[in-house]
């Protein structure tokens, strides 16, 4: 398992890096409006019809896929570091694949979610 982790590490790091970079770029406005301003009534939110129409465009699907997939890989990779920093390095070969599996399952579900829009 350790050997597999080492083999896929560059890909995981790329996904993690983009999770931080692109994920942060995309998430700021998203969380601001969808999570804070709209629920508090400070700003309006797109109607369902408008939201669906925009989301179903190619760019819309790509952006939404990015909003789902990229934070998951950043999250999984950083939680792996948290576990190691708490002294769990000797169990990394068990914990890391579990965390990346969570990210992978979420990513697959995310791709299905944008395809079925």
């Amino acid at each position: 398992m350790k050997h597999l982790l080492l083999k896929f590490e560059p890909l995981i790091w790329l996904l993690f890096g983009q999770g931080v970079l692109l994920g942060t770029l995309l998430l700021t406005g998203w969380v601001l409006v969808v999570g804070v301003l709209a629920p508090l009534g400070i700003a309006p939110l797109l109607s369902f019809a408008d939201a669906h129409e925009l989301a179903a465009t190619l760019i819309g699907r790509l952006v939404l896929a990015g909003l789902i997939v990229l934070p998951l890989w950043k999250g999984a990779h950083h939680m792996r570091h948290v576990f190691i920093d708490m002294g769990g390095a000797d169990r990394d070969a068990t914990v890391a694949p579990l965390l990346y599996l969570i990210a992978l399952v979420g990513s697959v579900a995310g791709i299905i979610a944008v395809v079925r829009l």
Binding site: L6, E9, P10, W13, D85, A89, D92
Partner: protein, 248 residues
């Protein structure tokens, strides 16, 4: 005549022949206003307790021998002004290293990691003497010069949380030096080093705490080197997908 200032030093002591575990011992000594921390340690050894063991050499922050934890931070004791510290100063051996005795730590673990990155010019084919020296422009030198300034003081290893928790990790100074050679225009060994960087001591273990660069007394910025090395390892990996090395 004004009364001379005194400071208290709480110093880690460990004698493998006598002690189960390290303990601390306190010394209160008169100090001079222009002293470095190392001056206080040498005073203690010379005038108070000759059994205190610590490494030091150049006294001018170029040899890298005198690294220790001072008030919980890795420092070169010859460089740190004592006036920057309060009335009580805690001195301990470098964190993350096995302790040989008192303030002296085991260095061979670092030497193993150091050698593993092949810190020398690697050529596919050795250049014949008749061909003359290899030439390098100032621009080519600038690309790696910063990373060649390391004095192997190992403060970065003491500060790094990954070194603390992952024993196989190659570590900041060794990766920075390997990267220095991979960036050198005379070197042709980047692929060989990338195999080491992606091996058990993987550069990807680095979590970019940046502590190594914060504590480096020579402004080498090992964090920059490690993360550039990750980038290069990814490019190497991607090239390997498209053009497998085959028999190489």
């Amino acid at each position: 005549m004004s009364e001379q200032q005194k400071k208290k030093f709480v110093i880690t002591r460990f004698d493998p022949d006598r002690d189960e575990v390290p303990k601390t011992q306190e010394y209160e000594i008169p100090v001079q206003p222009d002293w470095k921390v190392l001056d206080a340690l040498n005073f203690i050894k010379d005038e108070v307790d000759g059994s205190l063991s610590h490494r030091w050499s150049c006294r001018m922050a170029v040899c890298g021998s005198c690294g220790m934890m001072v008030d919980g931070e890795p420092k070169l004791t010859c460089k740190e002004a004592l006036s920057n510290y309060g009335d009580t100063v805690e001195i301990a051996p470098l964190a993350n290293f096995p302790i040989v005795r008192d303030l002296v730590v085991e260095l061979d673990g670092f030497m193993d990691k150091f050698k593993s990155v092949k810190p020398w010019i690697i050529r596919a084919k050795e250049r014949a003497v008749e061909e003359g020296p290899m030439r390098q422009s100032p621009e080519e030198l600038e690309e790696f010069k910063q990373f060649s300034m390391c004095i192997n003081c190992m403060l970065c290893y003491s500060a790094c949380p990954v070194v603390a928790n992952e024993p196989e990790f190659i570590g900041p100074a060794a990766i920075a030096l390997g990267h220095r050679y991979s960036l050198d225009s005379r070197d042709e060994g980047a692929a060989e080093r990338n195999e080491v960087f992606r091996g058990e001591g993987t550069v990807f273990s680095c979590s970019f705490a940046n502590e190594c660069s914060e504590v480096c007394p020579k402004h080498v910025d090992p964090a920059a080197a490690v993360n550039q090395a990750k980038f290069n390892a990814v490019i190497d990996w991607a090239q390997g997908l498209i053009l497998p090395r085959g028999g190489k």
